[in-house]
Amino acid sequence: MTTNDPIYKTDALIAQDIDAYLEAHQHKTMLRFITCGSVDDGKSTLIGRLLYDSKMIFEDQLAALEADSKRVGTQGQEIDFALLVDGLAAEREQGITIDVAYRFFTTEKRKFIVADTPGHEQYTRNMVTGASTADLAVILIDARKGVLTQTRRHSYLVNQLGIRHIVLAVNKMDLVDYDQATFDAIVADYKTFADSIGIEDFTAIPISGFKGDNITGPSEHTPWYKGPSLLPYLEAVEVDVTSDQERPFRMPVQWVNRPNLDFRGFSGLIASGTVRPGDEVRVLPSGKTSKVARIVSLEGDRDLAVAGESTTITLEDEIDCSRGQVIVAAKEPLEVADQFEATIVWMDETELVPGRAYWLKIGTQTVSATVHEPKYEVNVNTQEHLATKTLDLNAIGVANITTDREIPFAPYAENRDLGGFILIDKMTNQTSAAGMINFALRRAQNIHWQATDIGREHHANMKHQKPAVLWLTGLSGSGKSTIANIVEKKLARMNRHTFLLDGDNVRHGLNKDLGFTEADRVENIRRVGEVAKLMTDAGLIVITAFISPFRSERDMVRSMMQPGEFIEIFVDTPLEVAEARDVKGLYAKARSGQLKNFTGIDSPYEAPENAEMRIDTTAMTPEEAADLIIARLIP
């Protein structure tokens, strides 16, 4: 047999007995696989070849392909299969694939969905995307080049994403004269690497996507190769589509179906296990139990639904259950936690900001979550752990994550649907990262049992900041409020959680019963100090703008705070300058006697003696002052 004769001719049954063909086709299974490899390894050519050999290319497409091949092809006068699959105009011009493309073909035994993903480094996120839904990976190697950095990168990712079936397709064998020694050396080299990263098994096949060797059947050019050809292997490989059914029942609730008061159904795609009417189930995280009453469908009630199916069930009892909760087998519940260690693949141009709140979507639930400073980043070429403070585009690392509420989950290695998540930037709505839960942190369990354990440190950790009180003191009109406002805006841009307590504003509410006598002024400051203390307990950076003329009260507030948290800032503006500004017209009123007890006029201002900072407003702008304060707060 010559290698260019496809053995996958159109199924004879189609012409002879279409009903029999349809009956057979209806029962075909599906395999989703990903092709990955380095630039120019021939991925697109291989996929084009698979489509061509499985008769998925029509005459008009072939005619267009032949014309394109002559015009822009890279294979001389021969058909350039890569042109079939390189879809977008931009990448046609560049001659490279730039995104994930999905292809479809069917053989007599299976339907296939192929994720075609790019090889070069900056598009790792697309490869991870393609791998996330794949049952199997075909990793391409150019026989002339052997195992490259990209090969290692993609193998590592494929393994991280939990793909257990790997085909090592050693391509372009025609260009090394179908040399067995070359093939064997590459396979040995790859095996060493695969072992080192924990890939347990792979199948190596020598092929030529361009010439068609060992694609649909054994090639006469490689008599030394006794293994399966690519397509027969893909048709036969056992995929664990049924193994999920043997695990305990889990169904994230997607939508509550309430057409009327008499019906309340819970819709979702079953992540694992099976369900029958009468099964005892538990709703997480609430823990309430009930029994399955019905499995409802358009065609009538069913007596069984299995992992991978979208279904709607009703329960015997009226218990609270809504989108995001997970219905599980009552006796085998899921773990519930709010702190995790996760492996994270960063996919956004904007790098990870540890401590910033992102949306975390897992299953059917979206919660607010913060990523802590990464424990390490992985060099995907060498699997070395590197120290890092962030993750940027295409980086992979391990970090702890804290969610704002407890979520039911399974480690990713157990279940992709219950352990895989995405992080969404709250400002841009971009999908910033993909993550895989490794395990819950023990700390989370303690908090689960002892709510009082959530103290000030926990609050601060959640915000990933050190609480502080920036206490601005100075004469009326010195510029405290202006500077405080700029400081807060700048801190907000840095994703710090802040609160600004302003003298005038507080007197509209909390302290509206107080006047301006010395006693009232003291009480005013005492109350503000207590509020500031509560806020630092909550982990906030508090900025205050009060004249607070008396040293003792400022010291009293200082003593309420943890050592080092109180930062006294003297906004130093000479009386004559403040009076000349007289923004609110108060000095004029005080001078004319309409306003009593006005600081600096008929009430004293005790300038700080040991303030942490002194701001000379005659020498700098409010902007500069704010920058100086922030530099002191966050060195």
Binding site: I18, L22, D60, D86, R92, W255, F263, R323, T364
Partner: protein
């Protein structure tokens, strides 16, 4: 227990239903675009399954050009009623006023009735998510479009700036004014669609089956003279031919194929034995290289 192996159609059905439920759970005001073709028929059927016993909790919307086949209008009204869904029909008033038609206005016909009409309709009703029946196997630029495909406030698609889509996690977050086109049957092929219609007994427009129809041959396409608006050229005389359609659009733009296939299995048989691709019968794709990608960037579905 014995595991139950899911077939490819069962896996595709589960995925499509999951996608539709995600939209209903997360969107503010979704709509299902309904073109009356076989893909729309499957999408509507899946929606009925996804939300049963509730009717699908969104309206159906047909962005009409006034130039569809008469049989399509009939089935459209019937299908919406049977599903218990509100039917919104939108016709671009500007195109109507100017009398835009496929005979005199070429590609302007598609631009104004379909591309502009769709944008106007979405804006008018403030729909933030629109389901569409596009499939990835139809055309190369579709092959890399996401299931949740974002449109800017002026409805443009940026193929270079698509959100990564992992596992079964769809990010439906968007800013005000932005919208999402969602394609629940992205991973279905033409054969899957036919097979499913066959299996589930879904009603489709009779034009998919062969029958004697009045036709003329023009520019290499066999066109059906569906009503008296069809301007016959000198010497043109409608001829009865036994024809059917592989895709349905505006009748003056949709080429028929000569065929004797009168049942679904026969149609499927013909499709599998045929040597030309599905979209070949559509005039608009042949305009220029990468024409579909360009149209999509401008807001065509």
């Amino acid at each position: 227990m014995d595991p139950k192996t899911l077939t490819h159609l069962q896996r595709l059905e589960a995925e499509s239903i999951h996608i539709m439920r995600e939209v209903v759970a997360e969107a503010e005001n979704p709509v299902m675009l309904y073109s009356v073709g076989k893909d729309s028929a499957v999408m509507l059927h899946l929606a009925k399954k996804a939300f049963y016993p509730s009717p699908p909790p969104f309206p159906l919307m047909h962005v009409d050009t006034t130039w569809k086949f008469q049989d399509m209008y009939k089935l459209r009204d019937k299908a919406a009623k049977a599903a218990g869904m509100e039917l919104i029909v939108y016709q671009n008033p500007e195109a109507k006023a100017k009398g835009i038609n496929p005979f005199d206005h070429g590609s302007l016909h598609t631009d104004m009735w379909k591309t502009e009409g769709l944008k106007q309709a979405l804006d008018k009703h403030n729909f933030d998510v629109a389901f569409g029946g596009a499939r990835r196997d139809e055309e190369k630029s579709r092959a890399k479009e996401r299931v949740f495909s974002f449109r800017s406030a002026n409805h443009r698609w940026d193929p270079k700036n698509q959100r990564p889509e992992l596992w079964r996690l769809y990010n439906a977050k968007k800013a005000k004014g932005e919208s999402v086109r969602v394609f629940p049957i992205s991973n279905w092929t033409e054969l899957d669609i036919w097979q499913y219609i066959h299996l589930e007994g879904i009603e489709i427009v009779p034009l998919y089956f062969s029958a004697p129809r009045p036709t003329v041959e023009r520019d290499g396409l066999i066109l059906m003279v569906d009503d008296d608006r069809f301007p016959l050229r000198d010497g043109e005389e409608p001829v009865m031919r036994s024809v059917r359609f592989r895709t349905l659009g505006c009748y003056p733009l949709t080429g028929a194929v000569e065929s004797e296939a009168q049942t679904l299995p026969e149609v499927i048989q013909e499709m599998l034995l045929t040597t030309t691709s599905e979209r070949q019968g559509r005039a608009i794709d042949h305009d220029q290289a990468a024409s579909m990608e360009k149209k999509k960037q401008e807001g065509y579905f």
